[in-house]
């Protein structure tokens, strides 16, 4: 046992020593980037946590108030509604976008000419900014001007579905692209083997394509979940959180508390909650995908 370990060590040593001389820069090279990111993202995060224990209107100095903001957070019915809404919106957007993007992506992975042309057109919505797309649908859903001559955004379900649809319209092109890339990496030989075994198109899709795309599905899901928070613009422009507070998702609620009513302490409590939720979620997802392991996806192939 000991002998083999020793052997393995000596065998590894020479390349390591060579590589030490070149291409292994000092860790200090990472410092400027780390400091920059820390200053503009990590420090503000810590500050948000601090401010959540104070009351501050943005003018004087923040005054410590203990747990008041957090107590308010737990008691606030708008907060409970908003949290539920954010979760439902994220899940609904995920389902809508994943189903369509996966099917379109696998379809677009084929190399036929018509598929190439359609894929190029499908991508166009993604070229517009969220702001531009939100304004576009704000106009198109206008009850006096728009395509649907009804007050879509005035009803609770209408406003919610509009946000899910507009988000999908914008981001499905991007996720289609990810799935297209994933589908093209599936070794052709798997399909050839399946065809020889007599598996039909749908059997091949469920037995080869879907399992082979599992990493792509995780990547796309992570991006969708984290990205669903950027629906802020869509909500601000399309519905302003309305009707009433029916589409006021967490980031919008925070924006209102901070920059409409100038209750920065309470806004910071909502923000801290958002950070905790998002970071927790991301750690879970990273664990599940194993992206942190320093390995190339091509290793072992």
């Amino acid at each position: 046992m000991t002998v083999t370990v020793e052997k393995a060590r000596t065998a590894e040593k020479p390349p390591t020593r060579h590589a030490n001389r070149a291409g292994r820069p000092h860790a200090a090279w990472a410092l400027p980037g780390v400091l920059f990111f820390t200053f503009f993202a990590v420090v503000p995060m810590a500050l948000a946590l601090y401010l959540s224990f104070t009351t501050w209107d943005g003018l004087g100095d923040p005054r410590p108030v203990g747990l008041d903001n957090w107590k308010k957070l737990l008691d606030d019915p708008r907060m409970t509604q908003s949290l539920g809404l954010t979760v439902v919106l994220t899940v609904a957007s995920w389902a809508f976008q994943t189903v369509i993007a996966l099917l379109l992506g696998v379809w677009a992975a084929g190399r036929q000419r018509n598929r190439a042309i359609l894929s190029a057109i499908f991508f166009v919505p993604f070229l517009l900014s969220s702001t531009a797309i939100s304004i576009l649908f704000y106009a198109l859903l206008d009850p006096n001007f728009g395509i649907i001559q009804r007050d879509t955004l005035g009803s609770q379900s209408g406003a919610f579905l509009a946000i899910v649809f507009v988000g999908g319209w914008q981001f499905i092109p991007f996720h289609t692209l990810i799935y297209q890339g994933g589908a093209r990496q599936i070794p052709e030989v798997l399909y050839q083997a399946a065809a020889i075994d007599g598996a039909g198109r749908y059997r091949q899709f469920f037995s080869i394509t879907l399992p082979q795309l599992r990493h792509t599905i995780t990547t796309s899901t992570v991006l969708m979940v984290v990205g669903s928070l950027t629906y802020f613009e869509t909500v601000l422009i399309l519905t302003k959180g309305g009707p009433g507070t029916d589409t006021a998702i967490l980031p919008y609620l925070m924006y209102e508390a901070g920059f409409k009513t100038y209750d920065f302490g309470y806004a910071s409590a909502i923000a801290s909650f958002l950070v905790l939720a998002a970071t927790g979620l991301s750690i879970v997802l990273v664990r599940l995908t194993g992206f942190g392991a320093m390995r190339s996806t091509r290793e072992g192939m």
Binding site: G23, A27, A30, G33, I121, E188
Partner: protein, 301 residues
């Protein structure tokens, strides 16, 4: 997307490049079979993509007085460019140049800081470089919305409020996590042998970076350029909160202001949306392969 858009992974068995036995007939069987159900689905999505774009273009060419009476799906009876003139006369050029400055600055900062960081994370692999990498891995999940309140405080203390720098610096910081992950993903695939070859030549880490790492990471670097430029181009929240006057106003915020400025003049509003999309659309027409390939990189390989 045409046949040569993306490099095919070498491990894919290509029937056309394989031994003579793979006749065109057999190849058709596996990759070129028509799929009418999928074709129909793709057609439905095509309609969903095109109808809003068509309605936008058509309405933007309709006179403001006729917009509220006609059906937006009918082509305009006498098209006019008045709406575009209205937008261009309302400071659109200024918004565009501000946005371009922000995009260029953000790309510059992100590249300068992320490339050495990813290089260290992949090559050095000691405790500190691993910690740096973990910071960005978790950093992916920090939502920009969650830190705007403290960032607002920081920006004000730094005397940057209402300047372009107030938009540039946080945007660059928040584009870094994904950029670092993309670059790390690319650099992991650079073979150890190449580093060892450079080591035998006695190259310094800096020379290895410029002569080996950067040339081989071109794919990842172009992804980072495209991703961070789009983040800057489409960013809305930071400009909304950190700027106020006309001077540092960027495109997205300008569009948002047009909503109240143009009021019921929806054709002019839609003309501004069209104009805002033209620069990226032009890039898409000229460099579709680079743009699409680069974005595909954001979702991993």
């Amino acid at each position: 997307m045409s046949h040569d858009t993306l490099p095919r992974p070498t491990r894919t068995l290509q029937p056309d490049g394989g031994p003579a036995k793979a006749s065109p007939g057999r190849r058709r069987h596996w990759t070129r079979r028509a799929n009418p159900v999928a074709g129909l689905g793709a057609f439905v999505w095509l309609v969903i993509v095109l109808v809003p774009i068509y309605a936008m273009l058509s309405a933007s060419l309709t006179g403001a007085d006729k917009a509220l009476t006609g059906n937006p799906l009918k082509p305009p009876t006498d098209p006019t460019l008045d709406n575009y003139n209205t937008v261009l006369g309302n400071g659109f050029g200024h918004l565009l140049s501000n946005t371009a400055i922000v995009a260029v600055a953000v790309v510059g900062i992100v590249l300068t800081l992320s490339v050495p960081l990813a290089y260290v994370a992949v090559r050095t692999r000691d405790r500190w470089s691993n910690a740096a990498f973990r910071l960005f891995l978790v950093g992916v999940a920090i939502p920009a919305q969650a830190v705007v309140v403290p960032l607002y405080l920081l920006i004000a203390k730094l005397d940057l409020y209402d300047t372009l720098l107030a938009v540039i610096l946080p945007t660059a910081a928040f584009a870094m996590p994904v950029s670092v992950l993309v670059l790390v993903g690319t650099l992991r695939d650079v073979s150890e042998d190449l580093y060892e070859a450079m080591a035998l030549d006695g190259a310094s880490p800096l020379r290895v970076l410029f002569q080996l790492t950067i040339p081989l990471a071109k794919g990842g670097i172009s992804t980072v350029v495209i991703y961070s430029a789009l983040q800057a181009w489409n960013g809305f929240l930071f400009p909304l909160i950190f700027t106020q006057s006309d001077e540092p106003r960027v495109l997205t915020l300008g569009l948002f202001n047009y909503v109240s400025q143009f009021g019921v003049n929806i054709p002019a509003l839609l003309a501004s949306v069209v104009l805002s999309g033209i620069p990226i659309f032009a890039v898409y027409l000229v460099a579709r392969r680079a743009l699409v390939g680069g974005l595909m990189g954001v979702g991993g390989k």
